[in-house]
């Protein structure tokens, strides 16, 4: 036997010496994008890491219930009730998948440097800069999502070795690093996607995200400049259909700023699709039936009710005499329930929520309990924005009956969000007229929505009107309107809880929400929110693995 007898090579894997080239950098960069859908592979289990952030953003924010039966994914209920303990597996899923994304960005950046310095062939300076900007933008995104949920997280960049990374404590503020990454991307990327690939990040996405980061830091003026640049780059929001954001045939349109791209594998597999939202597949006899999670709350649904002027009930009056659909009815009353078509609501309601008696996508009239898993527990409503039309199932859903895993992209930032963030910055910095224009642009666009019909008549007394100038007479009033508009326009898109925390009103809002929701379904009452609940506990297994370098968040 020669000495090379023992020199074997890994099978079906690559090693460092095969990667010192530009192709490897590009492929690693694509791999770094690959975590945008919140999963590495597999479909089940990645719920908490969904780019939609439905669990932390909407369920924890009082806009939706986790759904299904009480005992199913009971640890999600703890997230909803803000009673999570550090071994909650959804926390680990979030943490692991987003650090996977970060590692992929770091590997790309590390190899980019090696190739540019030692490779036989190298990138042009332009492409090298572009790659660096793309990777840093993605890294910033992954860190931002982690920071919102956990706040105290270890920061690791491409200069840190694996051994050092394992020992990195979580005692530094990561926002300056995220800011530096977004700033680099905003400065270096043009306003069109690199290589002409729609799925890549561009300068507009970077500017919007940097602005959002500033907003979270209350740096309103800096943020507003960036939002204005983004708005200037795009057509007038009023010309853009609201529904294009939730349709596989029109995604990546002009309203899209930054989104997770989803696709069905050529073999019909769903690993690259929207797996994080799969549990919200409906139940029972629905055309896409799964698990019956993610049910909009009574509070959210009633928030869509409008005054005679077509304006939201900013004073909370929507909680008076709430609309409950067929909830609580029994026997014949249940059986013969007819939806009240005189209910005055914002037309966005029926494109955000499915409710009994109203057409749902092209699936037919939503029949109520036949599509619900345990309505007595989770209420009578289903979510709308993550399901697609039955006509689009072919080619856009996972094969083998798993048609609730779809190729529908999920927006991280869309133009209406930028309008409303700009409005908030303007209000905070005293430009109330600009703020009102932004909000009203969103509302006018909402009025363009086609009305849902029952036998030719509107399914509700739809109405959405722009605010009169008087409504924006003071900063406080303006902020109230802006914040309410964010809730309506971006409902069930994963913003709510993070907005409440950012505004410093999570405790009062969630506790009053709980009192209201609990008056209808007992289990949602009694929510108690304290300072520590602004973030979630650090996963216990990560603390166990860190050798004492990771510290639990205060209060857990």
């Amino acid at each position: 036997c020669g000495s090379d007898f023992l020199d074997q090579k890994p099978q079906g894997k690559l090693i460092d010496e095969q990667l010192n080239n530009t192709k490897a950098v590009e492929w690693l960069l694509t791999g770094a994008y690959g975590l945008m859908n919140g999963n590495r592979d597999g479909t089940w289990g990645n719920y908490a890491a969904a780019p939609s952030q439905w669990l932390f953003g909407d369920v924890a924010g009082g806009d939706a219930h986790k759904g299904s039966e009480a005992g199913d994914q009971a640890t999600m209920f703890e997230i909803e009730q803000h009673t999570s303990i550090p071994v909650n597996e959804h926390l680990s899923v979030m943490w692991n998948n987003y650090y996977e994304g970060i590692n992929r960005c770091n590997t790309t950046l590390r190899l980019l440097k090696v190739v540019q310095e030692t490779g036989e062939e190298t990138f042009t300076d332009e492409r090298a800069t572009e790659i660096e900007a793309e990777a840093r933008m993605l890294r910033g995104h992954y860190y931002f999502f982690l920071w919102r949920v956990f706040k105290n997280i270890p920061y690791v960049d491409e200069t840190v070795s694996t051994a050092e990374a394992a020992q990195t404590p979580n005692n530094v503020d990561v926002l300056p690093f995220i800011e530096a990454d977004f700033r680099f991307a905003a400065d270096q990327l043009t306003n069109t996607p690199p290589m002409g690939d729609e799925g890549r990040v561009d300068g507009i996405a970077a500017k919007a995200y940097l602005g959002k980061l500033y907003l979270y830091q209350q740096k309103y003026a800096e943020a507003l400049d960036l939002f204005k640049a983004v708005i200037a780059d795009r057509p007038d929001l009023e010309t853009l259909p609201f529904l294009d954001n939730f349709n596989v045939n029109t995604e990546n349109g002009p309203e899209d700023i930054f989104s997770a791209q989803h696709a069905i594998n050529p073999d019909g597999g769903g690993d690259n699709a929207n797996v994080g939202d799969m549990l919200s597949g409906l139940y029972g006899s629905a055309p896409a039936n799964c698990c019956g999670f993610f049910n909009p709350s009574f509070d959210l649904v009633n928030a869509f009710r409008v005054t005679a002027e077509g304006l939201p009930m900013l004073d909370g009056a929507f909680r008076n005499d709430p609309y409950l659909s067929d909830f609580g009815l029994t026997g014949d009353a249940q059986e013969n329930y007819q939806v009240d078509q005189s209910l005055a609501v914002d037309p966005r309601l029926d494109y955000t929520v499915g409710r009994r008696g109203v057409p749902y996508h092209d699936w037919g009239i939503m029949p109520g309990n036949d599509w619900l898993r345990d309505p007595a527990f989770h209420g009578p409503f289903v979510a709308h924005k993550r399901m697609i039309d039955e006509a689009d199932f072919a080619g856009n859903t996972q094969s083998g009956g798993v048609n609730y895993v779809t190729a529908l992209n999920v927006s991280i930032i869309r133009l209406a969000d930028v309008y409303l963030m700009a409005a908030e910055c303007a209000a905070e910095t005293g430009d109330l007229p600009y703020a009102m224009n932004m909000v009203n642009a969103v509302r006018k666009r909402a009025d363009n929505l086609p009305r849902k019909k029952i036998d030719g008549n509107d399914a509700a007394a739809y109405s959405v009107q722009p605010y009169p100038a008087s409504a924006f007479g003071s900063k406080d009033n303006a902020l109230k309107a802006i914040r309410f508009e964010r809730r309506l326009e971006l409902a069930l898109e994963g913003h709510r809880f993070f907005d409440l925390v950012r505004w410093g009103i999570a405790k009062e809002e969630l506790e009053s929400y709980s009192a209201f929701e609990g008056s209808i379904i007992n289990v949602y009452g009694g929510l108690s929110f304290s300072e520590k609940n602004s973030v979630f506990p650090i996963p216990q297994d990560q603390i166990d693995r860190s050798g004492g370098n990771l510290q639990q968040n205060p209060g857990y």
Partner: protein, 1055 residues
């Protein structure tokens, strides 16, 4: 020429039919007839006769001109003169200096089982066998404790060929001898692969004489031990339990409301009323009207909008374990032919074994053909031979793959579902299709019988050739060269079929999938040895051996998946090309090992024995800096009984002290841990970067590296004492050992900030110590034939080891591991036994609100829930309060065997037990702690309540905090047991009278296994095999495949 005649008899005077009589140095030989008479023509008066018979000592008788020579053969007691196979050679058993357990192969065969490993249970001290009842399963074998957190399976040497894996392809009847090398001084000749001990198996070889044909057969039935099935609440009790959950949790609305207890139990808030129907279309429970339940509505179509099933409530309660189990047959037939002449011997055998599983629709089949032959040339100086086996095995049904343990015990296995499905669910709906959890508040279990049924066409097949050829040349007097080339080539294939399961709450209507795979394992081993044996001055015996060995391993597998077929489940139609969507994948592995080794054995005057070995291994598993490892060992023995001063002690036949020290290694980890590896996989690293549905290739870091990874090294000391007393009436041995594994390899999970979701590399994590004693004693009444009609043997074995993780490497902290549904059961922690159970210590039940506020507690603690001990005393219960709550290692294991013969009757009994081991009964998270709305244990009838304040079982409580389900001492149970493993009664038919000599031996027997088990453990079987064979979390019971009782009848006939 000279004619010689005579009779060959045993010590009782019974004729030895078929005894061989040969003229020495020629091929001239005859066989005794059925009266033991023989007649042979020999070359002259100086000829020498060689008389032999299996089981008796061969004798040489000089003719000395006699014409009538009667020979009485002495039974070979097979104890001291026995020659045993050790590494790359043989030794007299009495000359062994290391710890070697020689297994009584006859006892091994008494226990019918797919794998010969099962029969090892209790047959050798220091060998722990943990069985499971899955058909074809190879039980878990541990030699002297757990030396590593990795795969603890021993290395098998089968006719000189190393083999790592499961042994269910080998028939017990083909085994001639089996030795277990327990300590390093015996095993380190196998160096890098010997840490977990070495089991040497030698298959049956031919013997000189006319062909001897033996046919063995048995048929039996396996009966599930129904008495040990878990006891669940019946539907009425379950309804009451659910009511209590809401009563105890307080709040409005209480029970009887659809929001709380659902539609199944009616609207009376004081007592549940069972429904007639569970489901009719989309209606549930008491909401179902007679019109809804009209059978004419029934439509079993795979379309959610059309599907309409009607399910009656099983008010009496379904016993799911009863439904999924059955009595199942087991049978084995084996034909073997042994024979040979002066220059050639041969052994041929063929066998067919079939074992149906005691769970429906599972089974295992095996067919083997074996040929061993040996030829001698050049006046016996050149020997050429072969040992070959072809075996075909087939596993049928859910999770039955003899190469992989664990599939049948996961939480989504039929056993797991049987713990998780409510008893009110019937097996079938009104039209005989499966019923399930679709309904109101029925949880999400799959129908366990449906899961088994739908897996009935799943098969995994293996066709394996395992064999070697060898040539041995005596170059000079005492100097032999031997070369052996062996190959294992296993070609395997299988298929898994997926079906819709619309009756399940989270079921599918359109799932139609086919997975098809095939692949091979190929491993060749080429070893070359030179052995020099000499004796000088009559008292110095010296053997020197030197050798080399090369091993190369290659595995490759092709896997195809298809889904969406025109018709569902039609095996004649199911080909990948007929699927609407297909995908293909292939995987592989390669590794190589090259070794040089040597051994010196020296004995002086049969009193002082010395042996030393050294092996240097090179492995492709390690990086250039750590590629080679050297593993030395030495041992010596002093035969006290041969000293002059011991001569007066006449009752002492043999007494020998042994001492040994040696180093072995372990390299059984996934390959290339020293290299960082990158993968490109559509599911893991692709992205539709263009914005459409086209996926673009990407890369990710799939495996992180540890460039310093090196051999696991085990240093072991062994002291032993072997004795034979009172004219072979008592024999036994006592061993003491101390084994320390240094640099235990474990893929220490790294923080995600370091490795994301990539694989953490194996790291040399620390030291594990196993120290213990083993005692084996046998008593033989009437050890020699002819002393009486009644003989019996009693053997008792006792083994004990203490396991401790002595220290962890500086880079490694305490490692909790094995997490299932948020419960992390086990820990690697310095100072604790390896795999110790880890969690909160239950300190009682919270009695009142005041009790909660006066005691350290946790989020949402409630009256009637667990009170946990505040281990660190900081006034709160959190992760820092987890502690060691149990030890999966037994204090000791023991066994007792009794064999007796009276005239033609024989009886054997075998008992074994384990004392002091804990079991983590993880299934309690379903049955006691309501992790799902599934079946609930009758233990909860005694749950805590203000009226029952001393109970340690938490009260029913709606949405109890998940903290209560965390790993705690509530799960930990004493797993001690004592089991009557085997009883066999045989009768040897007086064939000479019955068959007029056409038959030389006929024995019929009946046997029963697992007749009774004494244990306090509440799970189905106290023998709990670990979840995964490559990942040791011993003693965690997630729902084992319990060992059934077996009753069988068999016979063995020799012509």
């Amino acid at each position: 020429f000279l004619s010689v005649t005579g009779t060959i008899t045993d010590g009782n005077g019974a004729p030895l039919v078929g005894a061989s009589v040969m003229e020495k140095g020629t091929s001239n030989g005859v066989v005794a007839d059925f009266d033991g008479n023989y007649a042979i023509e020999v070359s002259g008066p100086d000829a020498v006769l060689v008389v032999s018979y299996v089981g008796f000592k061969t004798v040489e008788v000089p003719v000395d001109g006699r014409e009538v020579i009667n020979v009485t053969l002495q039974e070979d007691l097979a104890q001291l003169e026995e020659v045993v196979v050790v590494g790359y050679g043989t030794q007299r058993k009495k000359d062994l200096t290391g710890a070697v357990a020689v297994v009584d192969v006859n006892e091994l065969k008494q226990q019918p089982a797919a794998s010969p490993v099962e029969g090892l249970q209790g047959k050798a001290t220091g060998v722990q066998i943990i069985n499971n009842g899955a058909p074809g399963a190879t039980p878990q074998i541990r030699i002297r404790g757990f030396s590593t957190i990795n795969n603890n399976d021993p290395l098998y040497i089968i006719d000189g060929m190393p083999y790592e894996g499961k042994l269910s392809w080998l028939s017990s009847n083909d085994i001639e001898s089996m030795q277990v090398l327990k300590d390093a001084s015996a095993a380190s000749i196998y160096g890098a692969r010997a840490n977990n001990g070495v089991v040497i198996v030698t298959t049956r070889k031919g013997v000189k004489g006319k062909p001897r044909i033996t046919f063995d057969t048995y048929y039996g039935t396996q009966v599930p031990n129904r008495g040990r099935f878990p006891d669940f609440l019946n539907p009425q009790q379950y309804g009451e339990y659910v009511y209590r959950q809401y009563i105890n949790a307080g709040g409005e609305p209480g029970p009887g409301n659809p929001g709380t207890t659902g539609t199944n139990y009616g609207s009376d808030p004081t007592r549940p009323t069972l429904p007639e129907y569970l489901l009719a279309g989309t209606k549930t429970g008491h909401d179902i009207t007679a019109a809804d339940a009209d059978p004419s509505n029934y439509r079993y179509v795979m379309d959610p909008e059309q599907y309409y099933t009607i399910v009656k409530a099983n008010q009496a309660g379904t016993n799911w374990f009863e439904e999924i189990t059955r009595s199942a047959p087991i049978r084995n037939h084996q034909l073997s032919i042994l024979g040979g002449g002066e220059n050639a011997t041969y052994a041929f055998s063929a066998s067919a074994f079939k074992q149906d599983g005691t769970f429906h629709h599972t089974g295992f089949e095996r067919y083997t053909v074996r040929s061993n032959s040996q030829f001698t040339f050049l006046d016996d100086r050149l020997t050429i031979g072969e040992n070959m086996q072809y075996s075909a095995t087939k596993g049928v049904g859910f999770g039955v793959n003899e190469n992989r343990s664990g599939d049948y015990q996961a939480e989504d296995s039929p056993i797991g579902w049987a713990y998780r499905i409510q008893t009110i669910v019937p097996v079938y709906d009104i039209n005989g299709n499966f019923a399930g959890t679709k309904g109101d508040k029925m949880g999400n279990a799959d129908n366990p019988l449906a899961v088994l049924y739908r897996a009935k066409d799943n098969v995994s097949k293996s066709n394996q050739f395992f064999g070697s050829t060898y040539a041995d040349l005596e170059l000079l007097e005492g100097l032999n060269f031997r070369t052996t080339f062996g190959i294992r080539y296993e070609s395997f294939n299988g298929r898994t079929i997926g079906y819709p399961n619309p009756e399940r709450s989270e079921g599918s209507y359109t799932n139609n999938t086919l997975e098809e795979y095939q692949g091979y394992n190929r491993e060749w081993t080429w070893s070359n040895t030179a052995t020099y044996k000499t004796t000088f001055n009559d008292i110095h015996n010296l053997t020197v051996l030197a050798g080399t060995e090369a091993v190369e391993y290659n595995f490759r597998q092709l896997i195809g998946n298809g889904n969406d077929f025109f018709i569902s489940g039609d095996l004649d139609y199911y080909y990948l090309g007929t699927a609407a969507n297909t995908s293909a994948n292939s995987v592989g592995a390669k590794s190589a090992l090259f070794s040089v080794f040597g051994r010196v054995d020296y004995s002086f005057d049969d009193r002082y024995l010395f042996s030393a070995t050294v092996r240097r291994d090179g492995s492709s598993n390690f990086g250039p800096d750590n590629r080679y490892g050297t593993f030395p060992a030495a041992s010596l023995a002093w035969r006290l009984s041969n000293e002059k001063f011991m001569e007066p002690v006449s009752w002492l036949d043999d007494l020998k002290f042994r001492a040994g020290y040696g180093v072995t290694g372990n390299q059984r980890i996934p390959t290339f841990q020293y290299l960082r590896q990158y993968a490109s996989r559509i599911n893991q690293s692709f992205y539709p970067i263009g914005g459409g549905n086209d996926l673009v290739s990407g890369l990710w870091t799939s495996n992180y590296d540890n460039q310093d990874v090196k051999w696991e090294e085990l240093k072991s000391i062994n002291l032993g004492l072997d004795f034979t007393l009172f004219d072979n009436r008592i024999d036994g041995s006592i061993e003491w050992f101390d084994r320390r594994t240094d640099g235990v390899l474990y893929p220490v999970p790294q923080p995600a900030a370091a490795v994301g979701t990539g694989d953490s590399p194996f790291v040399n994590t620390g030291k594990i110590k196993n120290a213990g004693v083993e005692v084996g004693v046998n008593y033989h009444f009437n050890p020699y034939a002819g002393e009486g009609d009644f003989r019996f043997d009693v053997g008792a074995f006792f083994s004990k080891y203490n396991n401790d993780v002595i220290e962890l490497a500086p880079t490694v902290t305490e490692q909790p591991y094995l997490t299932l549904r948020g419960v992390t059961t086990s820990v690697l922690k310095a100072g604790a036994p390896f795999g110790a159970f880890y969690g909160y210590q239950v300190d009682g039940i919270f009695q009142s609100k005041e009790d909660i506020s006066n005691t350290p507690s946790y989020e949402n603690a409630r009256v009637g829930g667990f009170k946990f001990a505040d281990i660190n005393g900081d006034g709160a219960i959190d992760g820092d309060d987890r502690t060691v709550i149990g030890n999966p290692h037994p204090d000791f294991i023991y066994s007792l065997s009794l064999n007796a013969e009276y005239k033609r009757f024989d009886i054997s009994m075998f008992f074994n037990g384990s004392q002091g081991n804990d079991i983590f009964q993880l299934t309690r998270q379903y049955t006691d702690l309501f992790a799902f709305p599934g079946a609930v244990s009758t233990r909860t009838l005694n749950a805590w309540s203000p009226e029952n304040p001393n109970s340690t079982i938490p009260s029913a409580y709606a949405d109890a905090p998940t903290f209560e389900r965390q790993s705690s001492s509530y799960y930990v149970q004493d797993g001690s047991f004592f089991r009557m493993k085997n009883l066999q009664i045989g009768y040897t038919v007086p064939v000479e009278k019955v068959f007029q000599g056409h038959v030389s031996k006929l024995r019929v027997y009946a046997s029963a296994t697992n007749l009774f088990t004494i244990t306090d453990y509440t799970g189905m079987d106290p023998e709990v095999s670990q979840y995964s064979s490559t990942f040791s979390a011993p003693g965690v019971d997630m729902g084992v495949y319990p060992v059934p009782r077996q009753y069988l009848l068999g016979f063995s006939v020799t012509f």
